[in-house]
Every structure is written in C-alpha cells, then in structure tokens.
Symmetry: C2
Subunit: 261 residues, 2 copies
DNA sequence: TAGTGGTCTAGACCACTGC
DNA sequence: CAGTGGTCTAGACCACTAG
C-alpha cells in the first residue's frame, strides 16, 4: 500500500550532518504517530522488522533501536516468533509517589525520635489478632514507645510495635531510638522490607494512654497502622501509632507520569 | 593487570547452544559484580568500550548491550567523549506507589457517590485562605456534597470542593456525581492534573455538619485535604472532606523497587 | 517449515570531550 | 589532537512460534 517502491528516506540520504535527529528517532516518531492515530491499531501486529527495514531504508539495528524505544514506552509487546503486538495507543500514565525510605513517606520531621517505655513478649488475643490480621495465640515481641520531637514538649504520639520474636534483638542496636525498626531488621538480620501497607483512621485516645500523651482520654486521635512484609511475603512487623489531634498531620504528594512495569 | 593477554571467554567459544545465558548478560554480571565489590570504584571511570571488547572477546554491540543494562540500573553515567563513570555500587531502591487515578489512591469503594447539597461562589476569609493556602479575598466556586455508598445508610463524609470559578461548568456534566471533579476538569477544559497533594489529620465533627452526617458534633473525625495542580503549576482545585470515626479507613500499599528517574 | 524476534560480528563515520 | 561514546550498515546463526 506504499505509494511507490521507494523508501521514506530520500531527503535524509546524504545529510549526515547531525543537525537532524538520528534515523532511529525519526522511525520512532513515525511509528508512534501511526499507533496513536490508529493506522496501526491496538491489538494488531506491527510489520516485521525486515519490512520496516525496507520501508525506512534502514538496517535492522536501526529499526530495532526504534522498536526498543516504543516498547519501553509501553506501546508494544514483542515475542520471538510471534511478532510485535500493539498493546496501547498512547503511553499510559499514573499518579506515582516514590520515596527512599518509609520515613519520608510518613513525613515525620527529621528531629523526631522514639523513647521506649516497655518491651515484652505478648500473645495475640482476639482484639490484637484482628488488628494485626494474625492468628489468635500468635506470639509477638512488643515495643511500646512515645514519639517526641526535640522542639516541642508535647509527645507526637504513642506507638506499639509488634515484631516477630526472632528479631527482638533490634532493641539492642545503638541507634535503635532514631532508626525505624524495619530498617534495623534489614541491617541486622538481612531481611529486606519488600512491601508495606498503611491504614489511617479516626479514633479516640485510649484512657490508658491519656496521661502519657498529656491529653484527656476519649479525645479525637489519628490511628496509624503499618504492616511490613519481607522477601518471602511474611508479615514480620506491625506498628500501631496513636496521634492526638493537632499534633500530627500526614501529608503526601503524587506526580503524574508514564506508567512503567 | 589481566593475568594474561587472552580473553575471559574461552569456555564459551564454540557453545552456541542457548543453554547458556547470552554473552552480553554474562558481561553485565561480571561488570556489575566488580562495581558492587569496589574493583571498579564509585566515581571512577569504566574501561572504554574497545578495551572491554578485547577483554571479553566480544563485539562492540555486545559490550554496549551490557553497558546499556548497567546504565539502566542506575550504576553508570555515560557521556560521549568523556567515558563511563560509575555513580553507584548498587541499584538504589525506593518505596513506590503507583495508581492510575487518584480515586484508587483514596481507595473509595467503587459504589461510592457524591450528592451535591449546594453550589455557590465564595470569597476566602482568613480561615479559608489558611486552609487552602491562598490569598484572602480570592474567589472560589464551592461545591458542598455528601458522600454516600449504595450499601450503607450512613454517609461516609462531607466534602467541600473549592474550584477556580472558570471551571464551574463541571457541575453540569451528566456524570458529575460519580466522577471526581479533577477528572471532569481534565475532560471538559483540557486542564490535566499533573501533581496532587494530600493532608490527613484528626479533627472533630463541626456542629454545622452534625445533623447531615448523623453524628454528634465534636466527635472524632478524619479530615482530608486534597490539592490539585495543573500543567502550569496552578492550584485549580481543593477539597476538604470530613469523615466521622469508623466510617472510613484510608489505606495504601507501597512496594520496594529500583529507583528510576 | 517458514518467518519472527534475539543475539552477535566486523566493520564504519560522526560529534564531542579533554588535553 | 587522540580517544570517547552515539549512530549505522550488512551480514549471520539461533530458538522459538504459528500454521
């Protein structure tokens, strides 16, 4: 269906003065445009590499370079023997947030630290099992702590950390109070956190914490549950934090960008 | 410093039976390992491509394929004329969350909908200016609505949406109640949301909303502030939602993965 | 079995960097 | 200026897919 047998590249032929874009980028543009406008429909097959070589009067390397770019942008899936299938007409986008550490995600001020109040082995009763999503009777090493800043006298909140007992040695680390426990587990036991889950809901200050947090029991609070999962998918740490009103605002920012996977 | 003049590739020589990994992957492994262990130190230069060709007895294409992979993993920066600089000893990782729509991020149940209660033009007083981070006297189009589910009689929460007046026509859209306003602005005015910011904090049910939400005034609540920014960075929409306790839990999940940028 | 994409070679010219 | 990485060609063999 090409107008003639000739390639689409006559003008460029001799011009090797790199005022022009590289040929593979030109091919990328052309094909991307044809995918976007439906000339190459989603679900359909792209012409094979050899065909594209003829059409653009380019070597296979150059054509493949273009196809690589288009594939990376999420418009193509390529399989040996089966061809190149168009899977999208334009690069899908998403809102993403990316942080180096979970601390950043939680946006605690940098001068925040935990002060441990007690550590002990606990057995999950019905209520705890429900909260931690575990079996009744499961044993956890519990670290109870108050979170404070250096600048304000009022505590930010109260945290109960529930850790698999085999990782309980983290409390002996010198920087235990400043570092997040999941990071210590990573460093001391080589168990990396691969996935984490957070839940936030409105709650009331439990009366047993009222004095420690210097607020009246029953007043509004923010409860923060965090669940950490290791490489095998095991849930090795959970924490439950209660923040009195006006002491803590959780904030996050997301960007729109191309979706990758 | 190579032990002899020979390449590192004698065993593979004849074996073209693809039970072995491709050569470029082998080179990738070797170099990655040397970067990780400091044989090729961070900040230092990689040997030029021609050198690596000799060392691995490979063509330039094959070596470049390996270097491309290593570069994509964030360990190298390559510049024409200047060489390949090692910039990290291992792939940096981050926790990321990626969602297609802000709805997903907010994890509202799918059967949720808004019911508008009132719409009018408002002028920011001091309190509103503080909340929306805008100038006193700025004019906003305010949409007040109740958010409900089809399954429960209790409302999920109350939302006040503050929109730039020029976008107020979104209320006329047929699917206005089911679609998020920022999506409507995108579709009707071609203003894409490029960035969004969220803040969550503990609060109390304002007495003016107590009846509408069917709870007592002053009881614990979750307040959710969302700010949307367009392509030019302009803050074109804000919303403030109040959820009574036990009616709404915000949850999110993050994955650890290689950092890209 | 014919055709696809994946890997690989041995050349080449270029623009650009840093000396 | 010599040397670097970026682009490009014209070949080749392979494993795999689909008919």
């Amino acid at each position: 269906m090409e107008p003639s047998v000739g390639s689409e590249r006559s003008k460029r032929a001799g011009t090797r003065s790199r005022a022009t874009a590289p040929l593979y980028q030109l091919i990328t543009q052309r094909l991307t445009e044809e995918i976007r406008t439906g000339v190459l429909p989603v679900g359909g097959l792209l012409p094979p590499e050899v065909e594209l070589c003829k059409r653009f009067d380019a070597s296979r390397y150059t054509v493949r370079e273009a196809l690589r770019t288009i594939t990376e942008r999420g418009l193509l899936v390529r399989r040996p023997g089966a061809g190149s299938v168009v899977i999208a007409s334009e690069t899908p986008t998403a809102f993403t947030q990316s942080v180096r550490t979970v601390e950043e995600l939680m946006n605690y001020p940098a001068d925040t630290f935990r002060k441990n109040v007690s550590t002990r082995l606990v057995v999950a009763d019905k209520a705890l099992a429900l909260l931690l999503n575990c079996a009744v009777g499961m044993r956890w090493f519990r670290i109870s702590a108050i979170r404070r800043t250096h600048t304000s006298p009022e505590p930010l909140g109260w945290t109960d950390i529930y850790l698999l007992p085999r990782y309980s040695k983290v409390v002996d680390a010198v920087d235990h109070a400043q570092t997040h426990v999941y990071r210590q587990v990573e460093r001391m036991y080589g168990e990396p956190t691969v996935r984490a889950r957070f839940e936030i809901f409105a709650s009331r200050i439990p009366s047993r914490l009222a004095r420690a947090l210097n607020v009246a029991g029953g007043t509004p609070a923010l409860t923060f549950v965090r669940r950490y999962y290791g490489a095998s998918g095991e849930n090795f740490e959970n924490s439950v934090t209660v923040h009195p009103e006006r002491r803590f605002t959780y904030s996050m920012e997301v960007q729109r960008e191309p979706l990758r996977n």
